[in-house]
Symmetry: C2
Subunit: 438 residues, 2 copies
C-alpha cells in the first residue's frame, strides 16, 4: 500500500496520518462548547466550523446530518452508522489529499484553514462518547493465565469457562475519564493478613495500585431488547477503538471480589484516549486472534480468521524523580486476545441484552508471553514479590503517588501512513484525606 | 398518626394515599409525550398540565423549575434535591387535603380536575428515570446465607467479607424495564453436567429462570469524582425507592460467574415498578436493620439504628392455567437487610466513585427465614430439588413460559394512610427462535 499524500503538512511519524482520520471532542479557549473534530497530523479539524463554512458542500449525503458535528459527544455521529462513517472519513481524506478533487473546499481556502485547523497543542480534549454501559472483558489469555498462576496453579489457572466464552463483567460508566485526568489513589477495605483464621479488614488507601493495558471499543448500533446480534453482523455495531487503562487496586480487589466480582477495586476510574480510531481505519491491521483449542459454540464462531488488531502497544512509567525520566515497562500487541470484539458483542447480546450507541467494551488486559510484554504490574512484579526495575535505579512493585502511566498504540510501519491512537495518560494523586479513620 | 383526609375520593386500601404522593412518568393516548405525574388514589395528577394551568401558583419556590415536569424522566426533578422534593410533595398534599388552604387551585377548579386528573387505568407508565449506572448489592443476609448453603456448607455459606462490607456488583442499566414489559427467556451457555471432568457447555434457552425480590433506590445527588459521600450525608442522595425484580437465569449464572461475577445471567432484564416513592414518604416506616455481629468500619457506621424500611412485600405467581389463579409464593419485609441504602452509598463512593442523578442501587434479594418468606425460587425449590406447590395442583422449580410474577409492596396498616408501591409485574415469553443451534 502506498501512503496517501496531502497538500497539508503532516509530520513523519504522526499517529494521525491521512490513513487514520480519528474522531474526537474538542474545545478551545475561545470557543469552550465541546464539539466534534478529526485529528490530522499536528492539528484538529473543527468539524462544526468546517460544516458551517460549507466544508461538506461536495458531500451531499452528510448535509442533512451536519448538526451531529455540533454535539458535545460523538454519539449522534456514531448513530449514523458505519456506511456514513466511511463516507465522511473518505471525504475528509479526499479533501486533504494532494490531488484533491475539491481544492476550493480547504486547500485554496486559507480563511477556513485558519478558522478550522487548530493546533493540537491548543485544543482541550473531552470524553469522546456519552457512555451508557461499560463492560470489561477478560479476553487477554496470557493475562488471565498469569493471574491464575499467581493465585492458583498453572493447571487451574484458567477457569473451565474461559475458552468457551468471552468472560466479562459490568464496569462503571460514570468513572470513565479522558486521558490527562488525574487519578486519585482510592481508599477501601484491604485484608492485611489473608492467612489469618479470623479475617478482619483494615481501612486504608490502596497499597497495590496498578494499571491495566486494554483496548476499548465503542458501539454504534442499537439492538432491540430481546434480540441477539449475530456474530456476522457484529462488525456493523463497532464504531471504533480507543486505548483503555483500567486502573485496578489489587488489595481491594482480592478482598472484595468473591463471589460477585471486582467492584470498588475498579470503579474509581478508567482512562481512555480521546481520539476514536474508526473501525474502517483499523481494518487493514486485522490479524489472527490467539489459537483457541476448545471447540467454540456456533454463536461465537468467527467466519473471518482475522478478527483482532495488530496494534503496537507500549506502556511508559514516569516517576516524580527530578530528571523526570520515563521507563518503557511494556511492549506488546493488541493481537494477544483470545476473543474478538465481534465475539464479545455476540456473547453479550446472545441473551437479548440491549446494546446502545456509546456503550464501551473493554478487551481485558493485554499481555504477551514475556515479562516485558505484560500489561499490568500485578503480572510484572508477581503480585509485589519481584520489584520491577525502572529508570534512575528506581523500582516498583505497584504505582506510587506521582507516577504517570502513558499508554500509546499505533498500527503500521510506514512513517507516513501510521494509524495511531495518540496516548492515554494518567498520573496518580495522593489519596484524599478523610475525616473517618480506619 | 391520624390519616390525612382529602376532598378527593381516594379508595380505602389504595397504595397511593395522601401520605404517599409518589412520582412517575406517564403518557396518554391523546398526549403521547411522556411527562411527570404523581399518583393519588386511582388517579394520576399530570404535573405538566397542572403546572401549565398555574397549579403551582401558591408554591413560588418551584415556579422557576416547572419545566422539570415536562421532562420524559424524573431526573431533572430529582436533581433539584430533597428539600425541593419535600416542598413539592407537601404542597400537593395540602392542595388535596380536606381543608386545603388553596381551594381554588384544584378543589374548586373542575376544569383543571378534568384536564389533569387522569384515571390510572387510562395512563401508560414509562421507566421513571434515565439510569446512568445500576449497581446490584447483596444485602439480604438470609438470601446470601441460603444461597451459600445450597452451593457450600452452612459454615462456609457467607464469604469472609460479607459482614464487613455491602457486597455488590455492577448491573446493566440498559436492560432495566418498567413493570409490564414482557420478559423473554434468555439463551446462554449452560453446563448440563457440572460433575464431568471435561466441562463442555451446551447452548440452550435457560431452564432455571428465576425472579429476585428486591428494592431499588434512586440517587438524586452527584458527588465529585474522587470524593466519597460520608454516611451521614448519604440520605440526602436518596431520591426514592421502587420495587425491583432482578430476573436471574441460574443455570447460566453458575457456569459463567467464576471469577468475575454474574453477567449474562442477569443482564437480559430487570423490572422496576413505575412509581418512585420518595424517601420522605418512607421515613415513618424506618426500622432497625438486621443485627451485624461483626464490628463494621467507621465509614459504614450508621448513627441512626433505624436505617431500613418495613415494607410488606409479596410475590404472586400466575400461570397460564385456564382459570388463571394466582398463588402467593412469598411474603416478607423490606427490613430483612444487613446493610442500608446509605451504607451502600458510603461504600460505593468510599473510593471516590462518582454517583450521578438517576443511578439505581438494588438491595439484593430480600428473604425472611421461612421458605414462605424466601425471595427467589432458587431458595424456595433448593435449586430445583424440591418443587414449590402453587394453585391448581401445579408446582414449580423455576419459571415456565407464560408465568407472571407480580411483586407488591406497601407500608403501614391504616387503610386510609398506606404508602405503597403499586406493583412490579413481568410475564415470561418463550425464548426467541435462533437460526444458530447449540
Ligand atoms: Ca480489566
Ligand atoms: Ca440480585
Ligand atoms: Mg476501572
Ligand atoms: Mg437483572
Ligand atoms: Ni376520574
Amino acid at each position: 500500500m502506498t501512503s496517501l499524500r496531502s497538500w497539508f503538512s503532516i509530520p513523519r511519524g504522526s499517529h494521525f496520518s491521512l490513513h487514520n482520520i480519528p474522531f474526537g471532542i474538542i474545545s478551545t479557549p475561545s470557543s469552550q462548547r465541546p464539539r466534534v473534530a478529526v485529528a490530522i497530523g499536528d492539528h484538529a479539524l473543527d468539524l462544526q466550523v468546517f460544516a458551517a463554512s460549507n466544508g461538506f458542500s461536495a458531500c451531499s449525503i452528510i448535509q442533512p446530518h451536519q448538526s451531529v458535528f455540533s454535539e458535545p459527544t460523538l454519539n449522534a455521529f456514531a448513530a449514523l452508522g458505519r456506511p456514513m462513517h466511511s463516507v465522511v472519513r473518505e471525504y475528509i481524506q479526499s479533501v486533504f489529499s494532494k490531488d484533491t478533487p475539491f481544492p476550493d473546499v480547504l486547500r485554496n481556502n486559507t480563511k477556513l484553514q485558519k478558522e478550522a485547523l487548530l493546533s493540537l497543542s491548543q485544543v482541550k480534549m473531552h470524553l469522546p462518547m456519552k457512555i451508557g454501559d461499560y463492560t470489561d472483558f477478560y479476553a487477554g489469555l496470557n493475562h488471565a493465565y498469569n493471574c491464575g498462576c499467581l493465585f492458583r496453579t498453572p493447571q487451574t489457572a484458567l477457569q473451565p469457562n474461559y475458552k468457551h466464552m468471552p468472560v466479562g463483567y459490568h464496569g462503571r460508566a460514570s468513572s470513565v475519564v479522558v486521558s490527562g485526568t488525574p487519578i486519585r489513589r482510592p481508599h477501601g477495605q484491604i485484608l492485611l493478613d489473608p492467612t489469618a483464621e479470623k479475617k478482619v479488614p483494615t481501612f486504608s488507601a490502596s497499597r497495590k495500585l496498578d494499571f491495566e493495558l486494554e483496548l476499548g471499543a465503542f458501539i454504534c448500533k442499537t439492538n432491540k431488547h430481546g434480540e441477539p446480534v449475530p456474530i456476522q453482523e457484529a462488525e456493523q455495531s463497532l464504531f471504533g477503538v480507543v486505548l483503555l487503562n483500567d486502573w485496578s487496586a489489587r488489595d481491594i480487589q482480592s478482598w472484595e471480589a468473591v463471589p460477585l466480582g471486582p467492584f470498588n477495586s475498579k470503579n474509581f476510574a478508567s482512562s481512555i484516549s480521546p481520539w476514536v480510531v474508526l473501525a474502517d481505519a483499523l481494518e487493514p491491521f486485522k490479524t489472527k486472534a490467539m489459537e483457541n483449542d476448545a471447540e467454540v459454540l456456533p454463536y461465537l464462531k468467527e467466519t473471518n480468521p482475522k478478527s483482532v488488531y495488530d496494534i503496537q502497544l507500549q506502556v511508559d512509567l514516569k516517576t516524580t524523580a527530578p530528571d523526570g525520566k520515563s521507563s518503557t515497562i511494556t511492549k506488546t500487541s493488541g493481537k494477544h486476545l483470545l476473543w474478538s470484539f465481534p465475539q464479545m458483542m455476540a456473547h453479550h447480546t446472545v441473551n437479548g441484552c440491549p446494546m446502545q450507541v456509546g456503550d464501551m467494551l473493554g478487551s481485558g488486559t493485554i499481555s504477551g508471553t514475556e515479562p516485558s510484554e505484560f500489561g499490568s504490574l500485578l503480572e510484572q512484579s508477581q503480585n509485589g514479590r519481584v520489584a520491577v526495575k525502572i529508570a534512575d535505579g528506581e523500582e516498583r512493585n505497584f504505582l506510587e503517588d506521582g507516577d504517570e502511566i502513558r499508554i500509546t498504540g499505533v498500527c503500521g510501519s510506514d512513517e507516513d501512513a501510521l494509524v495511531g491512537f495518540g496516548q492515554c495518560v494518567g498520573r496518580i494523586e495522593p489519596a484524599i484525606s478523610l475525616s473517618i479513620d480506619g
